[in-house]
Symmetry: C2
């Protein structure tokens, strides 16, 4: 994987329709088209039944970046694909928890 | 990335020495040698300063599996590399939070 990993977990608002949720998943997959993103993977809870596993989130996004600079550009106003995504879908999530990491 | 993603976050015991921590990181990287694991990436907090980012964990492990069956075998007694890793290092962590996901 990439030097910088950005693992995002979304808990959605209870009133999000199935159609809106599907649109969100497609838009998240589309973030892989950003010139700043090296890899992009969208997932849903696997339902593994162990006490240490959190299955309460709705959607997981794992983005890889080739550098901190690429990540920072992705988070800036320069990345219109990302800023437009947030603008279009920020009403759908109730909570977001992100784990950013550098390769150990 | 792989059909099944296993994202593990470790919060270590406060008394873990730097040497023991380094050994844990190396052992985590070594989990990539399991025949059940398709990809393995070990990270530490990137320190990105945003309210939605959790920088409180110590080590992140992101494993990819090619199937649920491969993941389940990795979690079973059959995967001696994994079971031995847990036996050797379970004293080092205070808390573990795992997000398992299937590709959306």
């Amino acid at each position: 994987m990439n030097p910088f990993v950005h693992a995002v977990h979304f808990w959605l608002q209870p009133d999000v329709s199935d159609e809106r949720r599907a649109a969100l998943v497609e838009a998240l997959k589309g973030l892989g088209e950003s010139p700043n993103v090296a890899s992009c993977r969208v997932g849903v809870p696997a339902g593994t039944d162990r006490p240490v596993v959190d299955n309460s989130y709705d959607i997981q996004l794992v983005c890889g970046f080739n550098s901190v600079e690429d990540h920072d550009r992705y988070q800036s106003a320069d990345d219109t694909l990302h800023t437009q995504f947030i603008e279009n879908f920020k009403d759908t999530w109730a909570k977001v928890v992100i784990y950013d990491s550098l390769e150990a």
